[in-house]
Amino acid sequence: MYCLSDLEVDFILKDIIARGITTEDIQYNLLDHICIIIEQNLEQNGDFKEFYYSIIKTFYRHDLSEIEAETCILSNYNKHVVLNRKQFFFLIFLIFIGPFIAYNILWIDLNWQSSRWHIPIEIWGNSVAYALWPSLIFLVIFLTPEKFDPLIPKKINDSSGHKAFY
């Protein structure tokens, strides 16, 4: 069983960092993992560097920074809010049309006694221009996904070229 010196441990850590591992957590996990393999498999008077370079190669396909990339992907995966189509369009309706509907309801509520249903043309006009027409456009897009859906790309390419490890 090989006993690693502090200098050798430092050498491994520096090499891991130089190979593109920036997440401290991953650096120390890899360091410990590599140290265990060396301690368990290298003979007492074995060549440390030669053995280290032979095992570090088994940790990656192209280079060690793949592990860092994978870490970033997995860490960010759940941080994005993913909406389905219904939720997306509901949000769009809410953002674009909601304020007009709310304003109209508020106006009617405040002026109900004096105006009843005699709503001024400004209110109707704004609602039609800024709420009704966008509603219709969104409705058409929502109901005809095969023709107009901007959410479904015509051609899906995996431009990252990243492959997960397993």
Partner: protein
């Protein structure tokens, strides 16, 4: 025979969570060895898959960690959090149901022991 990448995709978190549920606390190298041992070398977790997944589990607060210093280096032990224990049950149940569905879908007869 080792299993293909496609088969292992999506099961890694469940494997790690279940191992942590059964073993209280474990560190990375120990997890890889335990998986090898339990599956007779059929599943070999790579470091490139294991550590990013452990990092993600920690970020999701499904595991808690404990540091132990061994000379100049440190060893990080992972332990299930309360949330992780609940998630483990869900994940194991989900995978179990999925396997049952696959058995009936592919018309596989389970081996009799």
């Amino acid at each position: 025979m080792t299993y293909s990448t496609e088969l292992l995709k999506g099961t890694l978190k469940t494997i790690i969570l279940k191992l942590l549920a059964d073993n209280k606390k474990m560190y990375g190298y120990e997890i890889t060895q335990k998986v090898k041992e339990l599956t007779s070398d059929k599943i070999q977790l790579t470091e490139g898959a294991l550590y990013p997944t452990l990092h993600a589990l920690e970020a999701d607060k499904l595991v808690t960690t404990e540091i132990e210093y061994i000379g100049k280096r440190m060893r990080k032990y992972y332990r299930l959090s309360q949330e992780g224990k609940i998630k483990t049950k869900e994940k194991v149940k989900e995978l179990s149901n999925f396997m049952e569905s696959m058995v009936s879908l592919l018309d596989i007869k389970p081996k009799k022991f």
